[in-house]
């Protein structure tokens, strides 16, 4: 469903490439984890995938459509919940959903109602987004990504900063979507979420794909995913320089 071929990206003035010959294949209807330390290139990869950043070279194909040739078609297939809470705090929940529904080409009244239902926001429609709890804000961020009934859902730190109940709710919602046939690319720092949700994952480090495949293939026998992650990416702090 998602095919990235030999992606390269170097930011102007940067000594090191943000992405260095990254190739990745995510099959249709799966839950695929994307792991990496800070600065590994996860957000760069997500940005290229969602069309907000241009790769220096390489190609992105989603659902058989090349992003470079058919950006509008690819956009229509994609839903994206960025790491930031990407909505308008001064608007109510309902106003945010309606606004982004108007801006999402494939959104309908039905998809709006469905997104609201999946994120369980009905009781909070009239509340200003700025007054919501951290968990509700994450749910609103997530719901907006669902407005176009996407076939591919890219979630970047979807549960960052929320309580265990909200995290559990979001994880279950993502699992249900995957069961309905949505392909999910799930980027996070929480290893237990990947272990709970995903059958396969890729680990990025310093712009390079250091491992990808089924979780069992990434782990040495009996090893936790976190231990495997540290073994593959080493323990040196990445943002201390």
């Amino acid at each position: 469903m998602i095919r990235l071929e030999h992606l390269n990206k170097r930011y102007p003035g940067a000594a090191q490439a943000a992405l260095d010959d990254v190739s990745l294949h995510v099959p249709r209807g799966g839950l695929f984890g994307l792991l990496g330390p800070n600065g590994a290139g996860k957000t760069t990869l997500m940005s290229i995938l969602t069309g907000t950043l241009t790769a220096d070279s390489g190609s992105v194909t989603i659902g058989g459509h090349a992003l470079a040739q058919e950006p509008a078609t690819v956009r229509a297939l994609l839903g994206y919940a960025p790491q930031e809470l990407a909505f308008y705090p001064g608007l109510t929940v309902a106003e945010n959903l309606e606004l982004f529904a108007c801006l999402t080409p494939r959104a309908t009244a039905h998809s709006l109602a469905r997104a609201q239902e999946v994120a369980d926001l009905k009781a909070h429609r009239g509340k200003r987004a700025e007054t919501l709890s951290g968990g509700l804000k994450r749910r609103l961020n997530f719901a907006i990504a669902l407005l176009g009934e996407p076939q591919v859902l890219c979630l970047d730190e979807a549960t960052a900063g929320v309580d265990p109940q909200s995290r559990n709710f979001l994880i279950e919602a993502v699992r249900n979507l995957a069961q309905d046939g949505v392909t999910v690319l799930y980027s996070t720092h929480y290893m237990e979420e990947i272990e709970r949700l995903c059958a396969s994952a890729a680990i990025l480090d310093q712009g390079q794909l250091v491992a990808q495949g089924p979780l069992d293939a990434l782990r040495i026998e009996g090893e936790r995913l976190e231990a495997a992650f540290l073994r593959l990416t080493h323990t040196r702090l990445r943002d201390s320089i």
Partner: protein, 407 residues
């Protein structure tokens, strides 16, 4: 509704909704200019009146005590603008020096030698407080000299030339510069009598223009918040183009600017006169007013969006937006009327789009011109606004494609 129209309408609605909930933004856009118009129009009311004269606290110390000195002091107190106070409270103390009366009575006999260069001793000494403005000092000194001249002329006509009372009345009439038959009037664009400039005619357009340009602060701040919170990123993922994004900000703020225009003009027409000021006169061309208002709005929004795409934080937006607006206002004759500036500063006003706008508004509301008279200024403002918008769109597009995403 086709997608681009639907998206445009939704983004415009979002902008208006957010602005209507932004109390600080509304305060900046409506309350601040309203207060400026009221304060400046009322406090500068008399400065724009040709017949307003002056008022100064005066103390006279007569060290001569003669008849002519007595006549001079009597004449002085008949003048408008001189308020008699004690010496310690006076803005100016007038010393009538000893020998005043004798000297005034013989001055005509010595005039030939004074013409030949003999130094003339002072008859009066005027001591002003340093806090007295130069214009007030000049007006008061001129009035004192006219009193002195009047006493001297009366003495010469009565005692030296032996005029009768009737002849003296005639000579006084002929010698009064205010009675000379000279017609003064303000000329409009088509040569017909124009509206008399008042502080409200100056201040309503000036602070309206300032308010329109001050939209840079809420607009740029909202844009920064949009970028920092990731809403802008989400719009880009959804395929909202830079052009659509900027256009969706131009229309709501244009509507806000039009509302500012209606509110500020209404304040000038109704509120300022109710508080004792002059009434604002709109002029004959409502279309001309709309045209120059629209062009000013385009320039203001273009500049605001250019600032918005350049700044990175709300603090930068507030500081840069506020500083640019204040500098353009100071240069453009909004804060200090262009007419009172020195020639070099008057030339410098040409660099400020606020000055172009002020001239355009004056073409309509002061010179009573039609829309054609304000067209050159409107074209300059529109050109400036469109250039800023094009630059902002270019910068936004460049940022969007390569540099804004955090690695």
């Amino acid at each position: 509704m086709p997608y681009p129209m639907r998206a445009f309408a939704a983004l415009c609605g979002k902008e208006l909704r957010l602005l209507s909930r932004d109390r600080h933004g509304l305060l900046v856009l409506f309350a601040v200019p309203t207060l400026f118009i009221l304060i400046m129009s009322l406090s500068l009311r008399d400065a724009f009146r040709a017949d307003a004269g002056f008022s100064i606290a005066v103390s006279v110390i007569d060290e001569d005590g003669g008849t002519l000195a007595h006549d001079f002091v009597g004449t002085l107190w008949q003048q408008q603008g001189f308020r008699q106070v004690a010496a310690e409270d006076a803005d100016v103390v007038i010393h009538v020096v000893p020998g005043f009366s004798e000297f005034l009575a013989t001055r005509h006999e010595l005039a030939a030698s004074f013409r030949d260069g003999v130094a003339e001793p002072p008859m009066l000494q005027l001591e002003f407080q340093p806090s007295v403005l130069p214009q007030l000092r000049a007006a008061a000194a001129l009035s004192v000299r006219q009193c002195l001249l009047s006493v001297q002329s009366d003495y010469l006509m009565a005692e030296v030339m032996g005029y009768s009372d009737a002849e003296m009345q005639t000579m006084r009439y002929l010698g009064d510069p205010r009675r000379l038959p000279v017609e003064e009037r303000y000329r409009s664009a088509d040569g017909t009598p124009a509206v008399t400039p008042t502080s409200v005619q100056q201040n309503v357009p000036a602070w309206l223009i300032f308010a329109m340009f001050f939209a840079v602060i809420p607009l740029a701040s909202a844009f920064v918040v949009e970028r920092q919170q990731g809403s802008l990123l989400r719009l880009r993922v959804l395929g909202v183009s830079s052009t659509l994004l900027l256009a969706s900000k131009v229309l709501p703020y244009y509507l806000v600017n039009l509302l500012q225009m209606v509110v500020m003009i209404a304040i000038g027409v109704w509120l300022v006169p109710a508080l004792g000021g002059d009434r604002f006169t709109v002029g004959h061309s409502v279309f001309g007013l709309w045209m120059i208002g629209t062009a000013t709005s385009l320039a203001a929004i273009g500049l605001a969006l250019l600032v918005a795409v350049r700044v990175r934080t709300t603090l930068q937006a507030t500081i840069a937006g506020g500083a640019i607006s204040l500098i353009l206002a100071a240069l453009g004759g909004v804060m200090v009327p262009k007419l009172v500036m020195p020639a070099t500063m008057q030339q410098l006003t040409g660099v400020s789009p606020m000055a172009w706008s002020l001239e355009g508004f004056w073409d309509i509301v002061l010179r009573q011109g039609g829309w054609q008279d304000a067209l050159p200024e409107a074209m300059s403002l529109a050109g400036f606004g469109l250039s800023c918008l094009a630059l902002a769109a270019g910068l936004l597009r460049r940022n969007s494609t390569n540099t804004t995403t955090t690695p």
